[in-house]
Symmetry: D2
Subunit: 287 residues, 4 copies
């Protein structure tokens, strides 16, 4: 299958952008297979995702970025990312002790649902090594001391591994550690976390217990990009489940697992498909 | 249609309660038409709703309460409420300027969906008088000064009206004023509010704007009993709607209206049907 | 508020359409405030909705249609509809005996949620005259004989009224009569019906009873454009509600009412906003 | 953990059943930890699930069934099933070529979510042997000839295996073969299928393609017990997902997978927990 080019961009809204860009692509024999755009009228910002086939495209693949930069980026004060569909993202998974999200991710990976590579799984515990082994994926454990005294050292080792494996984004699949600002800075809006509540309700620890104490009738899960502020990064996807007075904290944990799996996997799907733009602290999710 | 007795109770959990009560009712020729119970094993509390036909019941209607008190309440440390299905609750509606919840309540009332009387609508503005007039319901306006200097006086007048009209519960249908602790004390767990967010997210003013700023992917509405702490009373019902980056604060307000209507009306339905028990700061909602 | 032009179109997909049209509008000083497009790759059809401000637009309002026809329609084999935002659609409501959908429509109308006029309500029964009177809308009753012997005559009178009132679309708000092919032909894809099931499950009469007999765990409602084949026209909107074994046919009817109201009103909203395109037997719903 | 007794029963509704049964259990020192009951007033049938701790129970475990039979079953024309919580159901999984449901079931099994044993996986294709091997579960393949000439022989071999492994219920995890009436008769209401539509819409083959052709706005999945009539057995659980005109048959298949997984797993959970009663062609699902 020949490759497509995928362009994600935003810039101040102004007349003519769509017209110019689509003309540029079609004039150069690119067949547009996807176009979606959105104008944030409050902010005055134009967002677009456009995808075209490279097969007949007159501009060589390695020059496309230059052309876009030269012809449009400066003129329109445009920020853009260019991807090629045959360049598979490389994903690292961080886990602690719970297997449900990990199994869901790996089952999709193994079934070929995603155009992604998963070269490594990283953990602070040995518990889930057996899952990694079931799927033949290298599993690395660095345990973090209670007092966090070795945290910097552990993260340095992890980052070395991520570099070596050319990891392009990280998925925290119920990883029960806080990521340092340093690591976040290496992967800005490229670390996806699943939080087991309907954020911003129940930030922090034990959200199901918080939800149970408050007596809510619906629980939720939230996938978001990790930023320096805890549980406050751009939200990618949320979903909810109805509960009742009959639920206990334990049954919420049980029901929540199914939410967490699906909400995390939907976010990972969108990220892999390059359908997410972030702007300020929000996401634009193309369909 | 002959009347039913409806008994709502809770007490420390212990063997034999269901057996005793059902035996008491059936031995006295009451035909049980509804029974639902629930044990909160964390708290060790037993909750029950039981409804039986009075037609053949051997104990006179005005003695039922005494019998329950004498035979069971003390023995089981039971708190109970006894209702008769032909005693219609009397509901007062408080509104400010938005008509959507009010119309939804009145349309159900007029269509006979509810066994309830609505003898009055109270407001701090004239705006919705025309709706009350469409439905021929007395409309009372007491406007509250900006500095709240006349608030005590207004509430005194309102409470006088509520007493005169023998109001049994109050519905705040987007009433944009805080109810004083005094009035709440008169109607403990009998004032239903609709809050336009998925509580406890976005407590307080302008929750849709808060939601938009946070970039959530789902908005919600919450109906709850009013307690002294703002937006923190026992939750009766919640529901949510999916939104996207395309939504503006205005479109959230618009979509939220449909949530508010339905979430408030579901709570009112459950209250009228005497299917809600409150315990500590939570509700048990019988189906 | 100055008017916008709204263009809905479809044509065989080919390079350059978006570019040409947006260039045409911006070159003539039209400020595009909405653009959404979609390509059905199975059918090879391009669909677009585009909206622009007329205030600075160089082409006079009454010439826009001609220009589009001359410049693009033939060249691209384009089918299009052009609307102006200040030309309010005129809606007729048909009802029988149930008030819930009617109240919901009229409450929105009265609250100014919709840019629509409702000059008349038509029924085959007197039952809901009081609702029309509450909202000061003329109410016309033509009762149809059991043997349908006067049906042609009644529909002729109705169509005469629709013409006189310049009705642009019809909403069947639980109207329990089948519309003749003649009337459908007068309003092709402009008659919106609400069917009280999740179509295509439970076509025809008494769908809640059918659902109850089948023991489904979820019920639904479907709004669709009326076509000659019963309950088989293009679906506009559907929604569902969870039920359980405890539900009776009566409680399904009760729960269904809330679904019907919201599903019908969402369809009407989309229609009024000119956000629906139909193609073959399906709808494209712009967001 | 000491065992509980779980009693599921139904009988003609009559006064005193709950009282008698709860008295019987508590008089014999059984601590009731779960009681839920439901009366179908249309059919006049009483349904109950009751669970109590055996630890202090005076009646020996192997006599409980006899006591219930002798004391109550005949008197109340009661049909009942008695289970013990330490007797784990034994589940066989049938698959064809798609892995998503299988992975979801096995991940839950491996994580200890269910009190169940899975001694074998049966298929008509070799494709998923690798999944069985990942989880160390014996995998049996009997391929069925195109003309079904060996179907009786294959089913005989399968039934021999099921007997040998003392299988108590079967899960068809996207098994693309029709089960013969003979096998169904061996496992009446003990074979759970997942159908990839919102039944009764789109019975039979390729339901996502049917849904796409009809232009529905919501797709669904249905888990049900298998009966002789195709896709017509008692429904256990359904769920739905919103789709749009942008979806293709392929994207429906993709989105449907997530529905199928969750809807099948919820049904399996309820079955394992002995929370399902069937009556006529419907299920009563206790919470």
């Amino acid at each position: 299958m020949p490759s497509n080019a995928i362009l994600l961009l935003h810039c101040p809204d102004q007349p003519g952008i769509i017209s110019e860009l689509t003309k540029f692509i079609t004039d150069n024999h690119g067949n547009i297979v996807y176009l979606d755009q959105y104008v944030d009228h409050e902010e005055g910002i134009f967002f677009m995702r456009i995808e075209w086939e490279l097969e007949q495209f007159l501009i060589p693949r390695d020059k496309v970025r230059d052309y876009l930069q030269t012809l449009y980026a400066q003129r329109y004060s445009m920020t853009f990312n260019l991807y090629f569909s045959d360049e598979r993202p490389r994903m690292a998974i961080f886990v602690s002790r719970m297997s449900h999200c990990l199994y869901d991710l790996l089952a999709r990976y193994k079934a070929g649902e995603w155009a992604v590579d998963i070269p490594c799984i990283i953990s602070n515990h040995e518990d889930l090594r057996f899952v990694a082994e079931q799927f033949d994926i290298p599993f690395y454990v660095w345990s973090i001391d209670k007092d966090h005294s070795n945290k910097a050292e552990v993260e340095a080792a992890e980052m070395e591994l991520l570099r070596r494996e050319r990891i392009t984004f990280i998925v925290l699949a119920r990883y029960m550690q806080i990521i340092s600002d340093d690591m976040i800075a290496q992967y800005p809006h490229h670390i996806i976390n699943i939080h087991h509540s309907f954020l911003p309700a129940f930030v922090g620890a034990k959200p199901y217990h918080q939800a149970w104490r408050r007596g809510v009738k619906i629980i939720g899960a939230t996938s978001h990009y990790v930023t320096a502020e805890l549980d406050a990064g751009p939200i990618i996807e949320q979903d909810v489940a109805r509960i009742s007075h009959k639920d206990t904290p334990d049954s919420l944990v049980r029901k929540g697992r199914d939410l967490e799996k699906i909400v995390l996997s939907r976010a990972v799907t969108k990220h892999i498909e390059r359908k997410i733009l972030t702007y300020k602290n929000k996401t634009i999710i193309f369909s």
